[in-house]
C-alpha cells in the first residue's frame, strides 16, 4: 500500500483500468470449461423430445461399462429447483411438460462414448398447449389500478386501441452454460458460469437435503449472462452434483451451443393490448393495458418478470386513470426466464409504439405528444408512487431530440426509404417493491496484508462489478484504487449480497460496500490500512442493506413505491429499408441515458452500447422459430445476433441527475439500454409509412405490414 501522505486521486467518475483486463487479454482467465480435475468425468443430459405427455419406458441402448447413470430416484432431497414456486423438477419422474426437459443423466470419461450412448424413451403423448392465449393455466395474474378507468375514458375526445407483439429472445452469451461438481470430504463444491452463487446454493441444499456448510458454490470467470445465468445454472449444478455424488468423481457438464439454445431460458414473448383515451391536444386521460406473457412450462421467475413488465407498462407518462391487467400463462415450451430488462422491454415496446400511433392518429408531432405527457418530478406513477427530483424524462427527451438533429432529419428523410423514430423509457433500479428489504443483502470488506479485500456474492459477468465496486470502496476509504481488490465469489467465503440481477449491483450492493468502507474508516481511527494491519492484524467489516426510509410498497394491492429510484432514457433510431428485400438497416442510434452518476463512464457507455446492440437484434433479426414447442433454429447459423457490420454508430450521452439512494447518486444501468432500441427502430420504420407493430421485424413481418397497409384506404404513402 502507498503511504498515506500522498492523497490518492478519487477513483469514482474516472475511467480506471478494469480489474480483470490482464487475464482476459492474455487468454489466462479461467472459464468453467478451462478447468480440469483429476478423474473428472463428462456429463450429459438426456432430454424429452416431445412437448407434453408421460414417460412410458426408458431403455439404455448402449454398453454401460464405464458409465454412471442417474435419474430422479438418485435425488436424496426434494426433486424441485427451489426458486419461487418450487414446481420444476431437476429430473422428470413421469410427467413431461416441455421439449428438452431433463430426464436422465449420463457420465463417462470419454466424451465420444458419452455422445454416442443411445437412450430410448417411450412416451404417452398428450396434446400440448402452445398458445399462451388459449392456455387454461395462469401462473400469475396481477392488477394495477389508478383512478377510475371509466372516468378517464369519459373525459377522452378519442379512444385509440392497438395490439403489439414481441417474440422470444435468446441470450447468446458467447460462453455457454456449464458447471463442474467436485465431491470432497462429505461435501460438494460446484464451480460454474453463473450470476447468482447463492441461488445455486439454495437449490442444491434443497435437492440434497444437506446443511449449508456441506455445499460450496464458486463462480468461475463468466462469459456473459444477461439474465440467462440467473436461475438456470441451479439446474445444471444439480445435475452435475447428482452424477458426481453417484460416481464419487468430479463431473463436468458444459452445454454445446445447440443444447444451450434449445433447453435454457429465453425472454418471454408477449402480447400487449392498449386502449387509450386522449384529448385532442394529446393529453392522456385513460390507459387500459392488458398483458399476456408466455411463461413456458414452469413458473421459474415469470411472476416477477410479469410484475416488472406491468409496472413499466404505462411508460414514463402521466395519466390519472390507469388499469393494467397481466397474466403469465403456462405453455408446453421450455420455461422462459430472466433476460436483461425482465419484462420491461416487452411492455415498453408496446406503449412506445402505441404512443407513436396516437401521435399519427391525432396528427401531433411525436416529440410534442411525449413532451405533453412525460413524467415530471411530483407526478404519480400507475402504482401511486410520487416521483422525486431525480425524474428526468423530459430532460432526456429534449436532449435526445437536439443531439440527434431529430427535426432536420425528419424533414430530410421524408418521402425516402429512410426514417427516424424515438422511444422514451425508464427502468426501476433494484428489486421490485419490498424485494430489497426481504433480501437483506450483506457485503463485507476485509483488511489484509495486500490491501482491502471486497467480499461480495455479486458476480463479474463482464459488466464491471469488480472495478466499479473497487472504485466506490477506494474513495469511501480514501485509499488508492490499486489497493482495493476483489475476490472470487465463493459461498464459503463471501456473505450473501443477493443475486447479480435487476441493475442492483452498483446501486444496492455498491451502497452497502460504501457503508462498510465508512465504518472501516472510522475503525482505522486515522491510521492507514497498512499501519493498522501492522499494529492490529486483519479486520473484517460487514454491513447489511438498510431500506431507505419513506419507501412503502404493498404487494397485495400493487400500490406504493415500486422502486426506490428509476433511470431514464430516450433513444433515437435512424433506419433505412431495402425496397427489394424489406430488410431494415439501422443507420445510427442516439442514446441519452440518465443513470444518476457514472461511477466509471467508459463501463457505463459499454453497458449502453452492448445493451443497445442487443436491442437492435431484438428489434430486427433475432427470431426464435418454435415448432411444436421446440426451438427449430437452435444454432448460431440461423439464429443470428448483430455483428460488427449490423451494429451502427451508437452515440451515447450520459446524464447525471443523482438519486438519493445509490452510491454517489448512481441508479441502475445494466437493463435500461435494452428497453429502448426496439420501439425506437419500429417507430423509425413507421415514419416511412409502414404500420409495423411486431418484433422481431424480420423481412417477412415488414412485408406483411406493408401488404396489410396497401389494402387499407387510409394507408399512408409507402415510398417503396
Amino acid at each position: 500500500m502507498h503511504a498515506s501522505k500522498i492523497a490518492s486521486p478519487l477513483a469514482v467518475g474516472r475511467n480506471v483500468p478494469r480489474k480483470d483486463s490482464a487475464e482476459k487479454v492474455a487468454g489466462a482467465a479461467k472459464y468453467v470449461d478451462d478447468l480440469v480435475f483429476p478423474g473428472m468425468l463428462y456429463g450429459r443430459t438426456i432430454r424429452s423430445t416431445i412437448p407434453r405427455g408421460r414417460i412410458a419406458a426408458t431403455r439404455l441402448a448402449f454398453d454401460q461399462r464405464g458409465f454412471v447413470v442417474a435419474d430422479y430416484r438418485d435425488i436424496p432431497g426434494r426433486n424441485v429447483v427451489a426458486l419461487i414456486e418450487d414446481d420444476q423438477p431437476f429430473l422428470a419422474e413421469r410427467e413431461i411438460r416441455h421439449t428438452a426437459e431433463p430426464i436422465l443423466l449420463l457420465a463417462h470419461e470419454s466424451r465420444d462414448l458419452l455422445l454416442r450412448a443411445h437412450v430410448e424413451i417411450g412416451y404417452e403423448r398428450e396434446n400440448p398447449v402452445l398458445d399462451p392465449e388459449s392456455s387454461p393455466t395462469a401462473f400469475k395474474s396481477l392488477a394495477i389500478d389508478k383512478g377510475e378507468i371509466e372516468d378517464g375514458f369519459s373525459e377522452a375526445d378519442i379512444i385509440i386501441e392497438g395490439e403489439y407483439r414481441t417474440g422470444h429472445q435468446e441470450h447468446i452469451y458467447i460462453e455457454t452454460n456449464g458447471v463442474i461438481a467436485v465431491p470432497q470430504d462429505g461435501g460438494i463444491t460446484l464451480l460454474g458460469s453463473m450470476q447468482c452463487p447463492f441461488y445455486v446454493h439454495k437449490a442444491l441444499k434443497s435437492m440434497l437435503g444437506w446443511s449449508d456448510e456441506r455445499i460450496r458454490v464458486v463462480q468461475t470467470e463468466t462469459g456473459g449472462g444477461f439474465g440467462g445465468k440467473e436461475e438456470y445454472p441451479s439446474l445444471i449444478a444439480g445435475h452435475a452434483a447428482l452424477l458426481a455424488l453417484k460416481a464419487n468423481r468430479p463431473v463436468k457438464i458444459v452445454y454445446d451451443r445447440a443444447e444451450d439454445m434449445i433447453a435454457t431460458t429465453k425472454r418471454h414473448p408477449a402480447i400487449v393490448r392498449h386502449r387509450t383515451g386522449v384529448k385532442r391536444d394529446g393529453r392522456l386521460t385513460a390507459m387500459d393495458i392488458d398483458i399476456v406473457m408466455d411463461a413456458g412450462a414452469y413458473v421459474t421467475l415469470s411472476p416477477v418478470v410479469l410484475s416488472r413488465g406491468a409496472i413499466h407498462a404505462a411508460g414514463p407518462y402521466r395519466c390519472d386513470h390507469v388499469r393494467v391487467r397481466g397474466r403469465a400463462m403456462m405453455t408446453n415450451t421450455p420455461p422462459n426466464g430472466a433476460f436483461r430488462g425482465f419484462g420491461a422491454p416487452q411492455t415498453q415496446f408496446a406503449v412506445e409504439v402505441h404512443m407513436e400511433r396516437i401521435a399519427e392518429t391525432l396528427g401531433i408531432d411525436p416529440v410534442k405528444l411525449r413532451e405533453t405527457n412525460a413524467f415530471r418530478p411530483g407526478d404519480t406513477t400507475s402504482t401511486g408512487q410520487i416521483l422525486g427530483e431525480d425524474c428526468s424524462a423530459l430532460d432526456v427527451l429534449r436532449r435526445a431530440v437536439r443531439r440527434s438533429g431529430f427535426r432536420t432529419r425528419q424533414r430530410r428523410y421524408a418521402g425516402t426509404n429512410r426514417g427516424i423514430g424515438l422511444a422514451l423509457f425508464y427502468h426501476g433500479s433494484g428489486f421490485t417493491g419490498g424485494g430489497e428489504v426481504r433480501l437483506a443483502s450483506k457485503a463485507s470488506l476485509g483488511l489484509t496484508e495486500r490491501g482491502v479485500q471486497i467480499l461480495v456474492a455479486s458476480t463479474e459477468i463482464g459488466q464491471g462489478t469488480r472495478t466499479m465496486h473497487a472504485q466506490i470502496v477506494a474513495d469511501a476509504l480514501g485509499v488508492p484504487f490499486d489497493d482495493v481488490y476483489p475476490v472470487q465469489p465463493d459461498t464459503s467465503n463471501v456473505p450473501d449480497s443477493g443475486p447479480t440481477v435487476a441493475s442492483r449491483t452498483c446501486m444496492v450492493v455498491g451502497r452497502i460496500l460504501q457503508q462498510c468502507a465508512e465504518e472501516m474508516k472510522t475503525r482505522l481511527g486515522g491510521m492507514t490500512p497498512r499501519e493498522f494491519f501492522a499494529a492490529h492484524g486483519p479486520m473484517i467489516v460487514t454491513s447489511e442493506y438498510e431500506g431507505p426510509s419513506g419507501i412503502k410498497w404493498d404487494d397485495s394491492t400493487y400500490r406504493g413505491d415500486a422502486y426506490s429510484t428509476y433511470a431514464w432514457a430516450c433513444d433515437v433510431a435512424e433506419v433505412e429499408i431495402n425496397p427489394d428485400t424489406f430488410e431494415v438497416r439501422p443507420l445510427k442510434l442516439t442514446c441519452v441515458h440518465d443513470i444518476g452518476k457514472a461511477i466509471h463512464p467508459v463501463l457505463v457507455a459499454g453497458q449502453i452500447e452492448g445493451g443497445t446492440a442487443q436491442g437492435i437484434g431484438y428489434a430486427l433479426i433475432e427470431q426464435v422459430v418454435m415448432r411444436e414447442g421446440s426451438m427449430a433454429n437452435a444454432q448460431l447459423t440461423n439464429y443470428t445476433i448483430p455483428t460488427t457490420l449490423d451494429t451502427p454508430p451508437i452515440d451515447v450521452v450520459i446524464v447525471e441527475n443523482p438519486s438519493r439512494y445509490g452510491p454517489h447518486g448512481a441508479k441502475g444501468v445494466g437493463e435500461l439500454p435494452i428497453d429502448g432500441p426496439a420501439p425506437a427502430i419500429v417507430n423509425a420504420v413507421r415514419s416511412i409509412g409502414i404500420d409495423l407493430r411486431e418484433i422481431p421485424a424480420v423481412p417477412e413481418i415488414v412485408m406483411k405490414a406493408i401488404d396489410l397497409g396497401k389494402g387499407k384506404t387510409d394507408a399512408r404513402h409507402v415510398p417503396l
Binding site: 474516472r14 483500468p17 487468454g27 458467447i174 451508437i650
Partner: protein, 179 residues
C-alpha cells in the same frame, strides 16, 4: 491415431491424435492452451480463432491432423510472459472487452487484419471482424482498440509490461460523450 508435429507458439509439439480431433480440442485439451475458446462449434462466433501459418482460422473447423507441420499461434503466444502485445494493451486501454470470452479470438482476428492492412479504416476493421461475435460490447470499443493498436504496430515499441499498466490509472481518457 495419427502422429502429428505442430509448432505451437514457437515450440514443436508431437502427439498421437484421433484423426477426427479438432484443432481447438487439441490446443485446449491436449496442450492445455485454454485461452482459445469455443462459443458455437458451427464456425459462427470466432471465439476459437488462432493463426495457422500466418492466416487466421477458426480452429473449430480445422482438424488437428490438418495442422501437421504447421506453425500455430494462439493468444498465449502473442506475447512473452508478463508482456503485452500492442493489441492486448489496446483492448485493455480502450475497454474492448467485458466478459472477455470473445477477446482472444477477436485479438487473433484483429492481428491477422492488421498484418494484411496495417492502417485500416473503421469500415475495414468492421468488415475484417465480421466473423467474430461479441454479445457484450456492441463492438465500439473493440473497433477503437484495433484502431489504437494499428497506430502502435508501426512503432518499434511493440511490447508493454503488465506492471507498467497498473499505474496508468490517471491516463485513461474520459469519453467525449459524457456531459
Amino acid at each position: 491415431m495419427t502422429s502429428i508435429s505442430v509448432t505451437v507458439n514457437g515450440a514443436t509439439r508431437k502427439h498421437d491424435v484421433e484423426p477426427r480431433m479438432l484443432l481447438v480440442h487439441y490446443l485446449r485439451e491436449v496442450l492445455g492452451l485454454t485461452g482459445t475458446h469455443v462459443g458455437c462449434d458451427t464456425s459462427q462466433c470466432g471465439a476459437c480463432c488462432v493463426c495457422v501459418d500466418g492466416l487466421v482460422v477458426k480452429s473449430c473447423t480445422v482438424l488437428a491432423v490438418q495442422a501437421n507441420g504447421s506453425k500455430v499461434t494462439t493468444i498465449e503466444g502473442m506475447s512473452a510472459p508478463g508482456l503485452l502485445h500492442p493489441l492486448q494493451e489496446a483492448f485493455w486501454e480502450e475497454h474492448g472487452l467485458q466478459c472477455g470470452f470473445c477477446t482472444p479470438g477477436m485479438i487473433m482476428a484483429a492481428d491477422d487484419l492488421l498484418r494484411r492492412n496495417p492502417t485500416p479504416t473503421e469500415e475495414e476493421i468492421r468488415a475484417g471482424l465480421d466473423g467474430n461475435l461479441c454479445r457484450c460490447t456492441g463492438y465500439h470499443n473493440i473497433v477503437k482498440a484495433v484502431q489504437r493498436a494499428a497506430g502502435r504496430m508501426g512503432q518499434t515499441r511493440d511490447t508493454f509490461t503488465i506492471d507498467a499498466m497498473a499505474g496508468k490509472t490517471d491516463e485513461f481518457p474520459t469519453p467525449a460523450a459524457k456531459h
